[in-house]
Symmetry: C2
Subunit: 379 residues, 2 copies
Amino acid sequence: MQKIKLFTPGPTMVPPEVTVAMAEPFDHHRTQAHRKILQNVTRKLQYVFQTKADCLVITGSGTAAMEAGIVGVGSPSSKALVVCGGKFSERWAKVCHNFGIKLIAHELEWGYGATAETVAGHLGRDKSIDTVIITHSETSTAAVSDVEAIAKITREHDCLLVVDGITSVGAIPVKMDEWGIDVLVCSSQKALMTPPGLGVIAVNERAWKRIQSFSPPAYYLRLQSYVEALQSNDSPYTPAITLVKGLNQALSMIEDEGIENIWRRTRRLAEATRAAMQAINLEVFAKHPVDSLTAIVLPESIDEPTFRRNLRERFGYVVAGGQGHLKGRIFRVNHMGYVDESDTLGLIGAIELLLHEMGHKFHLGNGPKAAISVLSRTA
Amino acid sequence: MQKIKLFTPGPTMVPPEVTVAMAEPFDHHRTQAHRKILQNVTRKLQYVFQTKADCLVITGSGTAAMEAGIVGVGSPSSKALVVCGGKFSERWAKVCHNFGIKLIAHELEWGYGATAETVAGHLGRDKSIDTVIITHSETSTAAVSDVEAIAKITREHDCLLVVDGITSVGAIPVKMDEWGIDVLVCSSQKALMTPPGLGVIAVNERAWKRIQSFSPPAYYLRLQSYVEALQSNDSPYTPAITLVKGLNQALSMIEDEGIENIWRRTRRLAEATRAAMQAINLEVFAKHPVDSLTAIVLPESIDEPTFRRNLRERFGYVVAGGQGHLKGRIFRVNHMGYVDESDTLGLIGAIELLLHEMGHKFHLGNGPKAAISVLSRTA
């Protein structure tokens, strides 16, 4: 027997209720039955995104949805500031580059998030910047950017703010309308508890003005087509029907739990995990740690591939390794979506047991003790 | 009780074996387990596409995969001939237009397929055409193009041939390498018997030369990223894991049946359906009918929405209506994938019963009789 427990920061664990919804007989997408599902999905996404804006569902990965947003607002006259502090934010700079969108890439040290000061500095110096692209939770480093404060700055400078919320929406506080995010992107396989294959993009009125002002090189990812189809609860191209049905079920579960409760649960799991890792003499990688996932530095004495292989083969836990220059140095564990206290305590225990056997020095039992202490204190 | 029977030309019916494969626990995509699945999918797709070329799986609809192909070969210096005879071929002209790819759109009367003569005429007159885009089976009209003969012409003129095989691959004979198709596209929800959400694109060496010669405005749909990832049986972005697992199962079933047997089965179902419809005084719309689906003209006395609603509510059959100017005039039924003789006879009987009740005149029983006669003769 081996129970595979996905603790990767996407895909995350999928509730059996969602699996069942995806396995039910499905209908053609141009029917009342499916339109009703898409209508419900849209409404519930607005709750999760904390917005009244249209939430458009695109069959594709989160990268596809981010490309749709970046290219959609990247008019020939515009210039984007991309704050890069990891693999995913660097990707958004590459998207700008491939489409010939003028950009300034501000490089952060990996592990830090974007701050209002950084953004304000650029916007003060260069008045031609009209778009700011921020990765809220940088999944490669588990660092968080201060999107709420950055949104104040972009409003003051009349810039559009495009936010990669792929590992933040539905996990940590994101308030699109209240904060003033103009374009916000998420994908199915993170806090939305659905298998990969759907990207979601919400676009506010300010962003629509820009989007409608020019014709970008886009067809499948042209946002206007999605918003036009949505008027009749439809999709412009054949959607991934089974995944939309799964998402509908997952969103109902999110609605039932309440988004504030989910934010709190995710934060508690993150705090417990960080405390546990520090208690067994491991370092949390990010200087601005996000609560949706945690990146942990492995001691030099521990061989990373061996550690992750053992964690999987002996305990069934699948965690992610590092990306780019962090490969072999860190591992990353998920707190988003369908993961609870006991899941997290189980993982912490397995990590402790394994590191002990691999010769890492610490007081046995300190990890779970620290985690339980946090969970008890914040209950 | 209502059994919904999807007879739309996509999405088509999904075998329970595929549903089960998609509902099983799934693994992270950057694991040996998933790489093995993608490797098997790729090998089996090569069999279905009849090619040794790389078959790239893209999370997205068939439109996404076609865009990847068109934009990938549409260099700034190239010019495309798009033969348009329905909604889907017109879409490929729009893709060229949105990306600024020079094109000649040759308009066919709807119901006809592209011929070698048409293509040869254009290539003879305009030496700057270096790409020909053909929709093999035009799903909006159920007409077939003579891709084998067209491929001879494009080879002679050293043009690249891009083929939309979305409702042809896996249903009717398509021999990528033997015929000389350079770029061939399909999607999961047709003959491949998997829910929608995956596009597949095969690209031969001739096409790769063009693709590698320039940088198109593309990121998510940039083909180089997919082929690079495939070297280690990987995907560049998080793939729709559950759908890939379903496709793997469906492809095994295709392999077990044998592609020639599937082509024969599909042809027999199409011939039986056409004979049955003609035997009850209905007209087959296409002058060059394809075998993967059939478009049938409704008599003016029959209200199309009422007909389709009754077919669904009373018998559970979901068939497609017309698109564009054919809306309300035709209905379309599927022969691709998981559909057999008895399924098709059931549909024919239901159509006959319903049209009789709606006042259409014909000899009762003629439809099934004609269908059975074809099935018996071609068994």
